[in-house]
């Protein structure tokens, strides 16, 4: 699914992310661990296709419509939570009814059904994360890149999110985190 070799990302003359070799199989779940500033976010951005300013090789065998990236501080568009979750589905030409049904399904699974009609600027940090995750999961991507998805979540929400991520059978999952991830969430760790 993802093959990286001799990857080096430079910014203003400094190397901000360096990966000798990394291979992630299809439907694999991997954690990218490292201290602050070690280049976790940069690596995920390269995999997401958000930056092409790097040397070396990064081959992702997924069309960009089949992969998505959730920022460390996710951005929600103005409007309601429901309209945000429908966004990716509407981009894939799902009709409004089907998109709403699918969005409600993921809202229920993430225990945030009650937020469906709330405007996004009234959400807390943890709620924003769960909404952004629901938005990413709603169109069932083949590659899901999550930058610190468990930050700001309470223990119950962490448990819910971990359970959902573990259930994804056909999705390749890459999670960046500065701290070790909960047991069983990922199959392997890659340390930067």
């Amino acid at each position: 699914m993802i093959t990286i070799s001799q990857l080096d990302v430079h910014r203003e003359g400094n190397s901000i992310c360096s990966v000798e070799s990394l291979s992630i199989p299809s439907a694999g779940r991997i954690g990218v661990l490292g201290a602050n500033g070690s280049g976790k976010t940069t690596l995920l951005r390269v995999m997401a296709g958000l930056t092409d300013e790097f040397s070396g090789r990064c081959q992702v065998e997924t069309d960009h419509l089949q992969r998505t990236f959730v920022h460390q501080h996710p951005f929600l568009f103005r409007g309601t939570v429901l309209s945000n979750i429908c966004y990716g589905l509407r981009c894939r030409h799902r009709n409004k009814r089907a998109a709403t049904d699918q969005a409600m399904h993921w809202l229920k699974r993430l225990d945030i059904e009650h937020l469906a009609n709330r405007t996004t600027y009234k959400l807390s940090g943890g709620e924003i994360r769960r909404v952004a995750l629901a938005r990413a999961l709603a169109f069932e991507p083949q590659l899901l890149l999550l930058d610190e998805p468990l930050a700001e979540l309470d223990p119950q929400a962490t448990e819910t999110v971990c359970a959902i991520l573990c259930e994804l059978k056909n999705t390749t999952l890459v999670i960046a985190s500065p701290t070790p991830l909960p047991e069983g969430l990922v199959q392997n760790d890659y340390r930067l």
């Binding site: 960009h64 568009f77 966004y87 990716g88 981009c91 405007t119 169109f139």
Partner: protein, 231 residues
């Protein structure tokens, strides 16, 4: 002070009496400006978004030119339009001179750089995550463009308001291209200048106050719209 007071009472009287000349000038000002701004927005907003989201050679120069265009003197635009629309001009066969449509085109030229310049600034200053999030969620170019406009709505509405305010109060284009013809091309701005030039100061002030009222209503409407959008 007495002049202003007379103007104010005259404005009230004109408004309440619904004098045909004033009503037709006010209506003409409204539709000409609204149409010009709407047409300029249809072209200007995509151009502003495109300039804000792409980096190509000459981009900065284009932005600079549009920003400079925001200060275009209306008399200059009026003269350029006159040269274009006159019998020997390239658009002469369309017979736009001394018609409201000619004024619409002139005001379109006036509004276009304002809408491009201000919408470019509004979209350029958006959080970079807006574009990244839209792209990673699979939005195509048109949906991304709609998302930029939606996220920068306050700046975009301000661009439209500024363009409207500039066009509704301009005199140069309406006078040179329109010719201030009674019941045909007379706008509130040209009517104000006309009344003042023939010594009817109070009437001139009254028409000016009407103009200000229209600007106030549009500003209020746009302010309300941007507030509503936020909720």
């Amino acid at each position: 002070m007495q002049l202003l007071w007379d103007g104010l009472t005259d404005a009230m009287r004109l408004l309440l009496s619904g004098e045909p000349l004033v009503v037709s000038a006010a209506w003409r000002s409204l539709w000409i400006t609204s149409l010009a701004v709407a047409l300029a927005a249809v072209v200007g907003l995509p151009v502003g978004a495109w300039l804000a989201r792409t980096s190509m050679p000459g981009n900065r120069l284009l932005v600079l030119m549009f920003r400079a265009g925001m200060a275009l003197p209306t008399v200059f635009v009026g003269m350029v339009c006159y040269a274009m629309f006159s019998r020997r001009g390239p658009l002469g066969p369309f017979e736009l001179l001394y018609t409201p449509w000619g004024i619409v085109l002139g005001e379109l030229l006036l509004a276009f750089p304002i809408i491009v310049g201000l919408s470019h600034g509004a979209i350029k200053s958006l959080d970079p995550r807006v574009a990244e999030t839209a792209w990673t969620l699979g939005a195509g170019p048109i949906r991304r463009w709609k998302t930029y406009i939606s996220e920068a709505r306050v700046g975009v509405l301000l661009a439209l308001l500024t363009a409207f305010a500039r066009c509704v109060t301009e005199l140069g284009i309406a006078m040179i291209v329109g010719g201030n013809i009674k019941h045909r091309t007379r706008t509130l701005a040209t009517a104000t200048a006309f009344e003042t030039s023939r010594g009817e100061f109070a009437r001139g002030i009254a028409l000016g106050i009407l103009l200000l009222l229209i600007a106030l209503i549009v500003a209020g409407l746009i302010g309300w719209l941007s507030h509503e959008e936020k909720r």
